[in-house]
């Protein structure tokens, strides 16, 4: 991808590309506006998902294939599912009250928001000469263990960030679980429904899992050299698993089950173990160049599993028995 970015940089941008960029930006702004100001929440969420896809395209234009993958999978996909699911539950529970704020307040807010945008744009336009870390990263890539600079940054240069981040997911999960009703504790995650599984979905769900697993593992593997990595792989896996659960082929896991908790913890645990062994042998989180690739791949595989499980459980939400509806 480094090569590809360089080639991109080499060829002078003709008139088409800026045009395309402009159109794309216009679409992004339009969908964002629609998502934010739409009358009904449902429409807003749909617009938001579209918006997410467009953003992913923008990432492609910015030579950030990894981000594009993540944005598409998480930003648009999972977030959208989360919002839709919540919307359904809210409809079920209580009214969705529309905003009833004075027009003047809205105008004032609009202006101040525009002010913020302008301020940021001003800062952006007047930025000094770009001083990125491309050079630094590329020079270190040889001993970083992976060819994909982004993965190198994530899993090696700034591994401490990534470790904490994988734990942040865990925090969210525990937090979500802790919102269950006392009597529901230890039951299956999410709202236990008995949706009639329709054939298409089911058939899909039967084919997809192996495919999903394959794609996931591939993404992790690819992540070492090409775009891809634990998070992308994890999201794909999570999406698959969700699909299966929604299709009713597999009951959602029990919040109480040790297996679930083990899977959720595994990734961060392995990561932490590697980090600490480094610390004992001298330097914290150091991956000796010789074994760097193996270690990174190992960490990523476990991370992928944990991330997949965590993401799925996050989307499913806290256990909730149908009784109290």
């Amino acid at each position: 991808m480094k090569s590809e970015s360089v080639t991109q940089a080499k060829k002078q941008p003709d008139m088409i590309e800026p045009l395309f960029d402009l159109i794309l930006s216009a679409l992004i702004l339009a969908t964002a506006l629609a998502a934010v100001t739409g009358r009904q929440v449902f429409r807003s969420v749909i617009f938001f998902i579209v918006y997410g896809v467009l953003i992913a395209m923008a990432w492609l234009r910015l030579g950030a294939l990894d981000v594009a993958l993540v944005e598409a999978a998480i930003g648009a996909g999972l977030t959208g599912v989360l919002l839709l699911g919540a919307l359904g539950r809210l409809k079920h529970l209580g009214q969705i009250s529309a905003t009833s704020l004075s027009i003047w307040f809205r105008v004032a807010m609009a202006f101040s928001a525009a002010g913020v945008s302008l301020g940021i744009s001003w800062a952006f336009i007047t930025l000094p000469e770009p001083v990125g870390l491309q050079a630094a990263v590329n020079t270190q890539l040889t001993i970083a263990g992976v060819e994909n600079p982004v993965t190198a940054v994530l899993l090696n240069f700034r591994a401490w960030d990534t470790l904490l981040e994988s734990v942040v997911l865990l925090v969210a999960l525990i937090g979500v679980w802790s919102l269950a009703q006392n009597e529901d504790w230890g039951m299956r995650a999410g709202l236990t429904t008995h949706s009639p599984s329709d054939e298409v979905l089911t058939s899909f769900a039967q084919i997809l899992p192996p495919v999903g697993l394959l794609v996931g593992v591939y993404l992790v593997w690819a992540g070492s050299s090409q775009p891809g990595g634990a998070f992308q792989g994890g999201t794909v896996l999570a999406a698959m698993a969700l699909l299966i659960v929604m299709a009713g082929l597999m009951a959602p896991p029990r919040v109480g089950s040790t297996a679930v908790r083990l899977i959720v913890v595994l990734g961060p645990a392995v990561f932490l173990a590697v980090a600490l062994t480094g610390a004992l042998s001298g330097q914290f989180l150091t991956l000796p160049p010789a074994m760097a690739k193996a270690l990174i791949l190992g960490i990523e595989l476990f991370l992928m599993l944990s991330i997949a499980a965590t993401l799925m459980l996050l989307v499913l939400g806290p256990p909730e028995s149908k009784a109290k509806q």
Binding site: D21, V70, T99, I120
Partner: protein, 113 residues
């Protein structure tokens, strides 16, 4: 000459504004969560664009990595927020919070209790 970086950077800045607007004008919690995500992706877009300004060096991988981290963090926050919204709706039947500064109300309630 306008580069993609320039275009998408400004676009990101604009998106941030839109998101902020949505965040403050809505009382509906779900919409606020949505707006939060809009702001977030706007920031990421701007961040990415800023890392893509140099035609010689190409895309800066560090912001990309940070953005991936950020997206995951944002998702975690969204998940918890959504769960809170649902739990709140379950507990009160409301999808909007009482007006800000309404903590006095809750006090009074507490006094009666």
């Amino acid at each position: 000459m306008i580069t993609s970086a320039m275009i998408f950077g400004l676009c990101g800045a604009a998106v941030i504004g839109i998101g902020l607007y949505g965040f403050v004008i809505h009382r509906n919690l779900l919409r606020r969560v949505l707006a939060f995500n809009v702001i977030g992706s706007g920031i990421f877009l701007l961040f990415g664009a800023m890392g893509y300004r140099s035609p010689i060096l190409g895309a800066d991988p560090v912001p990309q990595a940070l953005i991936i981290t950020g997206i995951v963090v944002a998702l975690s926050a969204t998940a918890l927020a959504v769960a809170l919204v649902v739990a709140y709706a379950r507990a009160t039947g409301q999808s909007t919070l009482p007006e800000d500064g309404a903590e006095h109300k809750t006090e009074d309630k507490a006094d009666e209790r």
